[in-house]
Symmetry: C2
Subunit: 264 residues, 2 copies
């Protein structure tokens, strides 16, 4: 049994001048499901607390919540409404995993590092929405920002393949990979990074909200057959875990997470 929670605050976790309330509702559930995905788990049920929404706002929010609920098979079984000055949507989800969940703490020096998809799309989408407004709204990049997809099938495949540690890219790729490094007591050397079409290298390294999974594998272990068996695109090998817990290297150069702070 898994249990996760994540709260989104309007103006902090989403700029409602750029994306809609239905997107906000979708995201509130999707980010929680992404927490399950990062453990290799599957969704159970969700409960939702909404604070500071008018009746009209609540309807729009729930449009997106229910779309995500149907799309990812996670029924919303309860909730709570409160008044408040600020719009907040707090979701908690149960989930389950056959066997053991993948933690952040299991990476060892010599483990290979993988990501399930190219990075930076959500950050590029946010940039386009800011620069071009509604002109950009229909683009794939804007959708990556507005309607993140929890990588549930990928997380399960990585777990079945024997992943030693896993995290979802929510705060920024380097920041989130650093969480594995800190929890596991390893460093990392990255040799490559797949960048989403239309995104910059910096958006891929530092941008958040992609909800791509990053995971580590024991030396010599290849996760691609498990992904293939599940009908998924192969993950990308991007580097290696190292002995020095302070090491953060990308293509021979030291790098530091800049902290995509969810600030809009």
């Amino acid at each position: 049994m898994l249990l996760a929670t994540d709260a989104l605050v309007a103006g902090v976790d989403a700029d409602l001048r750029l994306t809609g309330l239905a997107d906000f509702g979708w995201k509130a559930l999707a980010v929680n499901l992404s927490d399950l995905a990062a453990m290799g788990g599957q969704p159970g049920h969700a409960v939702v607390s909404v604070i500071g929404a008018s009746v009209a706002q609540l309807e729009e929010l729930y449009d997106g919540l229910l779309e995500a609920s149907a799309r990812f098979g996670c029924p919303i079984v309860g909730g709570d409404l409160s008044s408040g000055a600020e719009l907040v949507v707090s979701v908690a989800v149960t989930g389950w995993v056959e066997g053991s969940p993948v933690l952040r703490s299991g990476a060892r020096p010599g483990d290979s590092i993988w990501v399930t998809a190219p990075l930076g799309a959500a950050a590029a989408g946010l940039r386009l929405l800011r620069d071009q407004g509604s002109v950009a709204a229909g683009s794939e990049l804007a959708k990556a920002h507005a309607r993140p997809q929890p990588a549930l099938a990928e997380g399960r495949a990585a777990r079945l393949a024997g992943a030693t540690a896993m995290v979802d890219v929510s705060d920024g790729f380097l920041a989130d990979l650093s969480r594995i490094a800190e929890s596991s007591g390893v460093g990392f050397q990255l040799s490559a990074l797949p960048v989403a079409r239309g995104a910059t290298r910096d958006e891929a390294l530092q941008g958040g909200d992609d909800y791509v999974l990053a995971f580590t594998m024991p030396p010599g272990s290849d996760p691609r057959p498990a992904f293939s068996r599940a009908g998924l695109r192969p993950p990308y090998a991007i580097g290696t875990c190292t002995e020095d817990p302070g090491e953060r290297v990308f293509r021979g150069e030291p790098v530091a997470p800049q902290g995509w702070r969810h600030k809009m």
Copy 2:
């Protein structure tokens, strides 16, 4: 498996000039456990989202959260922190029940109505804190307001005794009993109401935050032996469910829930 969520907003659900942040944290978990109690369930685990707290505030909040967690046997297994303009604590809890949970919808005309304890203490405590400030802080009534106790053992006893419907008194006794009436399609006639020492009749009828349980029993069924077996004080028989779903009568007079709106 049960899953419940409740969010508390500072200034709405608690006046932090009257009670402390540790009390706020305690209450945030306790009200969720009370939701489980009202189904006859027992606590599993909790996750906590905190929005808009400073580090110092967070420590105090968690003092109370962890006290309640230890007191009621509900480990906090995860959480989430967000920035925000307003202090919000959103908790979700899992729980479990052997057999079927008690719902609000199972009351039938002729069922007897019971409460697990005298009512009005929390509302009286709030009144004392407002009128007398810190002078009142140590009193039993002020504690009933600041540190509500989820009636977990009582809810279990009522379920084992065969309760047909149950609710916890959070928004006000008449308002919460009306939820059973609405969900079950019954009315009610109340002949008695135990009032907490120091509380007024109106505080008992309309005041919220008592977290006493109200439940219904099939005609002729007595819940008191089950409470006695569990080492609990006997519940109070206070009235009967009636055929007319609009009926709300206390000692022969129509009454209406005034809606204790959690407004401080």
